[in-house]
């Protein structure tokens, strides 16, 4: 008899709005406390102290418009956030400051989260959906200089970009972008040349979320359908379907592969978090705690694997934090 699924390690309450994005920053040495950033529908970014399980700071920088993406740049003192006010803000949180250093007006009205990639110390590439409906813009941060704008060919009819993932095989090599579009296809872009390398129709419905494992050259995407699609990238940089994984209920809001590439977690519209083994997509656990759609899942970046956590934010205003498969 299999064990019953675990309960959450703890639950963070008090955002008083639906939680749309989560980001851990736990890599620091003592006496740095591990923190969890959460962005919620009321425009606040909460900084959760994972020792006390309380909110350290609440950041208000998006004019009470929903925050749907939070990323750190380096340590936990530099924060990037994206909101429905069509702005991306860069925060300086060092020494207790809570000020917006810089901001960028994307003019994008969708829900597509931006993607960050550290290309050199102190230099990042950021991909974000741009003003043009089908366009993706790639910028260099912190200089905010535009690297390129990725436009699909005329007549490609991909629709809006829904999710982005910037990656490179190893530092110094060409940065590539995986983008999931409204028509259900996943497209691999060469960022420096600004052209499509490969396109694969993974879903019948818009791609809601994707994640990619550059070591195995394999990625996974979810949509509003009842199925996860796993695809792979061959040496010729062609995307091809690897397998599909049936789900019990339709609708995936977010997918994250754990940094050690062993398991992955999905945030389901059915209020449930699902854990799969990444190698074979073996279903491992269904975490049923939330009472509304789960919007985001995120794994912590603890240096000690045993402390690793999984956090999920939901429309029910709660953030559940789980400790699962930490032994492996």
């Amino acid at each position: 008899m299999a064990l019953p699924p675990p309960d959450p390690q703890f639950v963070l309450r008090g955002t008083s709005a639906a939680v749309h994005t989560l980001h851990f920053s736990c890599g620091g040495q003592e006496p740095d406390v591990p923190v969890l950033f959460s962005g919620s529908e009321n425009g606040f970014i909460h900084v959760w102290n994972l020792k006390t399980h309380r909110v350290d700071t609440a950041l208000d920088g998006h004019g009470r418009k929903s925050v749907y993406c939070v990323e750190t740049m380096g340590g936990k003192d530099r924060l990037l956030s994206q909101g429905r006010d069509q702005r991306i803000c860069l925060w300086d949180l060092a020494e207790g400051r809570t000020s917006v250093m810089d901001s960028l007006f994307t003019e994008h009205v969708g829900f597509c989260r931006c993607s960050l990639l550290k290309v050199a110390p102190g230099r990042w590439l950021m991909a974000t959906a741009a003003r043009g409906l089908e366009e993706v813009q790639v910028l260099e941060l912190p200089s905010k200089t535009s690297v390129c704008t990725l436009k699909p060919e005329v007549g490609a009819k991909l629709g809006m970009p829904m999710c982005l993932k910037l990656w490179q095989l190893n530092s110094g090599s060409q940065p590539l972008l995986l983008a999931g579009y409204e028509d259900g296809s996943v497209v691999l872009w060469n960022v420096s040349m600004g052209k499509v390398l490969s396109q694969l129709i993974c879903h019948q419905e818009p791609v809601m979320s994707l994640d990619f494992d550059s070591e195995k050259a394999r990625g996974i995407s979810g949509s509003s359908e009842k199925v996860l699609s796993i695809w792979s990238l061959n040496e010729q940089q062609n995307l091809q379907v690897y397998k599909t994984q049936e789900l019990v209920n339709a609708g995936i809001a977010d997918i994250t592969i754990r940094p050690d590439k062993k398991i992955l977690a999905t945030a389901g519209w059915d209020h449930r978090i699902r854990i799969f083994g990444w190698k074979k997509l073996k279903p491992l656990a269904v975490l049923d705690y939330h009472t509304a759609t789960v919007h985001c899942v995120s794994f912590s970046d603890h240096t000690n694997p045993r402390e690793r956590l999984l956090a999920a934010g939901s429309k029910d205003h709660r953030i559940s934090v789980w400790s699962i498969y930490t032994q492996t």
Binding site: P4, N234, K280, T328
Partner: protein, 743 residues
């Protein structure tokens, strides 16, 4: 002729003693033997007649003379078996003399047998004769000839009784064939009895008799021609719409049984020869049976049509209906498959070939099946190979081997709780309207349909705002997905809307009942909903209960499914019976719960719009024409509404209108409609106060009474007769009650 009582000198008692002795010494057979002598017959036919008369009527004569104090041996139940024994003895003598090479006549015995049978003593005499003859004819052809001759010599005027007796008493078709020989071919009268009278004009015989009769026809090639003719005539009757409409269901069942038995006897070649005729009559028959509003007849039509179709299409598609199996259909079908054991011997070669053919077919089918299977199975193997092939180039080989068991270290948790999520139903009535009219979300739609009744009952005020709109949506609501009990769910929601806001919604529904472009189903739905709502309104306890328990079902499902005529009948019957008893004992009923009858103020709204327009045909809807099924339902609905209107103010006016309505339709050809009309009269008599009946509609009632009398006597439908009788009893009780009041 010593028993001739005309002669003086001997006392009747003495004569009887002598006669008794005569009988007990077995002299009767000698007497019969005497009658059989050729010269005796030739000599004096008058004497023969007299003798015959006396032999057959002896019990009557004796008992007339002795005024009932006759000795037991003269009781018919004793005398005729004795006579039977004597007949057998004489036959034995005849057989012996035939074997001795002597000619003798059997006709006197035949006369005796015929006359006894026509006097209604078949049971007594044939009960003795037939079993004996069955034994004797088993292996002896002389006995067979004697027996054939015995029946052939029966005069035409007595033939029917004899043949009927033999058919009823023979233990099987083969025995009957031995006993009667080719009588039906030789004797016109016997042919008429067997092929016409017993099959088409009578319907009281048991299935065994039918099997005997038709089996007998099938056992000889000369007779098989008759079998085919019989089948054609049966099918003609079965397929005649007038017969379906006017003959009692029992007779139609009988004819259907006969058809099925005939079919079971048909050979391949014979089917081949009359395939077209069979097909034509099947099509006609199935049409008029399906048109009938009695479920039993519809089902009969379906079963017979299926059977014919299976018989004529040995390969190729076969007609298949959907109906619920019951004892009757099972019995009918068993007639088709079962071949009487007696038939097995003569038709064995055929059966064998048939069996062989079917066995071969079976083998071929199996082979095909197997090859299909392998066809299916083959691509499966490469597919799985393909998978691993496609996987291989993606993942480098050594890695894939390394990770073979890598997921296994992750032990899965229990995932049995991971079920499909239930969709939340809307919480507001207006949301429901939105979902039901426009939503593409099937799950939500389903949840809404399920939740609607509860919502309506919980929010009467909100429902009243949109009641007519909601009623309209529900009336037009089609089953989008396969929900269990969709029809019932919709109906309950409709009833809930109707009871929440009766006047506008009844106005809408009754007007829609008579408007264009509705299916019969929708019109009948309207009627069902009206009845259920009226019932709920008139029954305060029931209403309170449903109100408390929200979405709980109404306790009584008045009209489940489509074929509810039986339930109607049952309910009305129960009511009539309970009411009849109450009148008889004279006790007054006391309502336990006292709350206002909500039906009182709205009964007219339910009733009058429905009764007004029945005689105005529309292009798509003709109640008095071919849509008689809906008319039947309408009439039944009116009956129930009338019944539920008891104690309301409008009841007298309703009763008067209803009586006129009944009068206009009283000669309707559909028995279902007539049943409804009779129910109307019942509920009218029960609901309208006796004084009002007498004061306002006495004349109409008298007319109705004479009509009821006619129905009791003449209606072909048993249910109609019974209902009419109930009504007459009700009227009688009412009269008594009214007479009792002034005194």
């Amino acid at each position: 002729m010593s028993w001739n009582d005309g002669r003086p000198g001997l006392q009747p008692r003495e004569v009887v003693v002598v006669l008794e002795q005569f009988l007990q010494e077995g002299r009767l057979s000698a007497l019969l033997w005497e009658g059989c002598q050729q010269q005796a017959q030739a000599a004096c036919p008058e004497l023969q007649d007299n003798l015959l008369n006396k032999i057959v009527c002896l019990p009557e004569h004796v008992s007339n003379n002795l005024q009932g104090k006759n000795p037991p041996v003269f009781f018919p139940q004793n005398y005729f078996p004795l006579l039977g024994g004597a007949v057998l003895q004489v036959l034995q003598q005849i057989s012996d003399s035939l074997r001795g090479g002597l000619d003798c006549s059997i006709s006197f015995v035949s006369h005796v047998l015929g006359k006894v049978c026509v006097h209604g003593r078949q049971k007594e005499i044939l009960g003795v004769v037939v079993p004996q003859l069955t034994d004797l004819t088993r292996a002896d052809c002389i006995w067979q000839r004697i027996c054939w001759r015995l029946v052939e010599c029966v005069p035409d005027r007595w033939m029917e009784a004899v043949v009927l007796g033999f058919v009823q008493r023979a233990p099987g078709a083969d025995v009957l064939s031995r006993l009667l020989g080719n009588l039906v071919v030789k004797n016109k009268k016997a042919q008429f009895v067997v092929t016409q009278k017993m099959l088409l004009l009578q319907y009281g015989h048991t299935t065994e008799v039918l099997q005997n009769l038709l089996g007998y026809l099938s056992l000889d090639n000369l007779r098989r021609a008759l079998l085919l003719r019989v089948l054609q005539e049966l099918l003609e009757t079965w397929g005649s719409s007038s017969a379906v409409k006017h003959s009692p269901p029992e007779q139609q069942l009988y004819i259907s049984k006969a058809i099925l038995i005939c079919l079971s006897h048909l050979k391949e070649t014979e089917v081949e020869s009359c395939r077209q005729e069979l097909l034509t009559s099947m099509m006609e028959g199935v049409k008029c049976h399906l048109d009938s509003s009695l479920p039993q007849l519809r089902r009969l039509g379906m079963v017979v049509a299926e059977s014919i179709s299976a018989k004529i299409n040995t390969e190729g598609p076969v007609l298949k209906f959907e109906y619920e199996e019951d004892d009757e259909t099972r019995e009918l079908k068993s007639l088709l498959v079962q071949t009487p054991p007696s038939c097995v011997v003569p038709s064995l070669p055929e059966d064998e070939t048939l069996f062989l053919v079917s066995a071969k077919l079976g083998v071929r089918l199996q082979q095909e099946h197997r090859s299909e299977k392998t066809d299916v199975a083959l691509p499966l193997v490469p597919e799985s190979n393909k998978k691993s092939h496609t996987a291989a180039p993606v993942v480098p080989d050594e890695e894939s081997e390394a990770e073979l068991d890598s997921d296994d270290e992750l032990v899965p948790y229990d995932m049995s709780e991971d079920k499909e999520l239930k969709i939340k139903a809307p919480v507001y009535i207006r949301d429901c309207i939105e979902v039901l009219t426009g939503s593409e979300d099937v799950d939500k739609w389903e949840a809404t349909v399920k939740a609607l009744e509860g919502l309506v009952r919980k929010n009467p005020a909100a429902t009243r705002e949109v009641s007519v709109e909601l009623a309209k949506i529900l009336l037009h609501l089609e089953e989008k997905t396969c929900i269990e009990g969709f029809v019932e769910l919709r109906q309950r929601a409709q009833v809930a809307v109707l009871t929440t806001d009766p006047i506008p919604v009844t106005k809408y529904l009754t007007s829609q009942f008579y408007s264009l472009n509705y299916s019969l189903r929708q019109r009948m739905d309207i009627l069902d909903v009206l009845v259920l709502a009226a019932q709920e309104l008139s029954c305060p306890k029931l209403h309170g209960k449903t109100k408390h328990s929200g979405a709980q079902k109404p306790l009584i499902q008045l009209l489940p499914g489509s074929d509810s005529s039986k339930d109607w009948r049952r309910i009305v019957d129960e009511r009539i019976q309970s009411k009849t008893r109450r009148f008889a004992t004279g006790q007054s009923q006391v309502e336990v719960a006292s709350s206002p009858n909500k039906f009182n103020s709205v009964a007219g709204h339910f009733f009058f719009p429905l009764i007004q327009h029945f005689d105005r045909p529309l292009t798509t809807f003709d109640l008095l024409g071919e849509d008689h099924l809906v008319l039947g339902r309408l009439v039944h609905t009116l009956a129930v509404l009338m019944y539920l209107a008891v104690n309301t103010v409008a009841v007298t006016a309703m009763g008067k209108a209803l009586l006129e309505f009944v009068w206009a339709l009283r000669f309707h050809t559909d028995s279902y409609v007539r049943q409804g009309l009779l129910s109307c009269v019942s509920s009218l008599l029960l609901s309208v106060p006796g004084e009002r009946l007498l004061a306002d509609m006495a004349e109409e009632l008298l007319e109705t009474q004479s009509w009821l009398g006619d129905v009791v006597e003449k209606d072909p439908n048993g249910d109609c007769r019974r209902l009419a009788l109930h009504n007459l009893l009700l009227m009688e009780n009412l009269k008594k009650k009214l007479e009792a009041v002034p005194s």
